[in-house]
């Protein structure tokens, strides 16, 4: 139950961040990289989806991977 609440909460945050971006684009343009990170890692149904879209493997170690999507992904590796 707690995990479900966390996922719901995170989804709300992401949606709110997206709304905030559109309202404040002239002042603070959140990096597409940041949202790319959150989108790929938080909203992927499976790690396999993340790997398919980025070419990186989601891990828990503090690694970075330059994905085939051109973004740098944290806690991910190509190895």
């Amino acid at each position: 139950m707690k995990r479900l609440l966390k996922y719901v909460g995170l989804t709300v945050i992401v949606i709110a961040a997206g709304w905030n971006i559109s309202q404040n684009r002239s002042d603070v343009e959140l990096s597409g990289l940041t949202l790319e990170n959150v989108d790929a890692l938080a909203l992927s149904e499976t790690d396999e989806e993340f790997t398919q879209s980025t070419g990186c493997v989601a891990v828990w170690e503090d690694l970075t991977c330059t994905g085939k999507d051109g973004n740098i992904h944290s806690y991910a590796t190509r190895y």
């Binding site: 707690k2 966390k6 995170l10 945050i13 961040a17 603070v28 343009e29 959140l30 990096s31 990289l33 940041t34 990170n37 959150v38 890692l41 938080a42 790690d47 493997v57 989601a58 891990v59 828990w60 170690e61 503090d62 690694l63 970075t64 991977c65 330059t66 740098i72 944290s74 806690y75 590796t77 190509r78 190895y79």
Partner: protein
């Protein structure tokens, strides 16, 4: 008769020398000091004199969470994610071990870093301007004693650089010196500095290697390196290891030990290719090495463990584990 006694003595002596000293394995029940960290995955754990710091890498705000070590209560949060002047796109955390309650937050490849001090009046954040050249693929930055900073670049043959105004210098070596094409992928790892002993330790996640450097007369020199296994090959210029096993994922320092987060494959033969972000499959053991990188003890915590930090002043270890959600635990080793 004398001859027989001599041979018997020699055999006994040879038997003693040929025996490997058994590494002690112990089970402990660590004390939970903070329950239910609200995060999908804690990114890191560090320690200052009075506070524990844990990070949430998938948040928009409040990247660093500040917890009072004595009470276990969260007292503040710091660092927002973004492109604003006081924000970082992909923050990482380190600490100033020679200052009481300060930490260092950096975005390695955007050349933006902050020093944050925790005071009685709150948090003060100031920019740190470090010049380390263009195009460097740096994966780690950390403060050293005396206001110096160190960077780690897994693509450079001398991967460590101590930054200075006119006296920057690079040192060290990568775990394998062949000219391979995937250095960035295989030689990333954890780099930690113990200012009390002026010791730097580097260990790779995916390659079976650890090294220790000591600062002597102002310069770092390698003291020891250990290659735990030769189970790897170079295929078409790429280094390929045994992907069913991993090496060291976290390093912490205590007074007497270098503490690492490692799976004890002799008792837990989990295939690392099946783990991904399944936190139930995290290793449950920490390895205690002395400062000669000799393994002394393996401690089983009885729970999956994700992050580690330690107090160089004594033998206290803090960890983020799973019980059943993310918790911060404390144990004396």
């Amino acid at each position: 008769m004398k001859e027989r006694l001599f041979y018997l003595f020699f055999i006994m002596l040879a038997s003693c020398n040929s025996q490997n000293s058994e590494v002690e394995r112990v089970n402990v029940n660590p004390e939970i000091i903070l329950n239910d960290l609200e995060t999908m995955m804690p990114g890191g754990l560090e320690l200052t004199r009075d506070y524990l710091l844990w990070t949430d890498p998938f948040t928009i705000e409040n990247y660093v969470h500040i917890v009072d070590r004595k009470t276990g209560l969260e007292t503040a949060q710091a660092v927002s994610v973004g492109q604003g002047p006081e924000e970082l796109v992909q923050p990482s955390l380190s600490v100033y071990r020679d200052r009481d309650n300060s930490f260092f937050v950096y975005n390695a490849n955007s050349k933006k870093q902050f020093k944050v001090e925790i005071t009685e009046n709150g948090l003060s954040q100031e920019k740190v301007l470090l010049d380390y050249g263009e195009g460097a693929t740096i994966t780690r930055m950390l403060p050293l004693n005396g206001g110096r900073y160190l960077t780690f670049n897994p693509e450079k043959s001398n991967p460590f650089t101590v930054l200075g105004d006119n006296d920057s210098y690079s040192f060290g070596k990568l775990p394998h010196e062949s000219d391979i094409t995937n250095r960035y992928d295989v030689f990333q790892g954890t780099v930690k500095y113990n200012p009390a002993k002026e010791v730097l330790v580097y260990a790779t996640f995916s390659f079976p290697y650890i090294s220790l450097y000591k600062r002597k007369n102002g310069k770092f020199e390698m003291e020891k390196e250990v290659l735990f296994s030769t189970d790897f090959q170079i295929i078409d210029g790429s280094l390929k290891g045994n992907t069913s096993k991993k090496n060291i994922s976290e390093i912490a320092f205590t007074r007497d030990y270098i503490v690492t987060l490692q799976r004890d494959y002799s008792t837990d033969n989990t295939d690392e290719q099946t783990v991904g972000r399944n936190f139930d499959k995290l290793p449950q053991t920490i390895f205690l090495y002395d400062y000669d990188l000799e393994l002394k003890r393996i401690v089983h915590l009885g729970m999956p463990v994700l992050r580690l930090t330690g107090d160089p002043a004594d033998n206290t270890v803090y960890a983020i584990g799973l019980s059943p959600d993310f918790v911060i635990v404390k144990l004396e080793i």
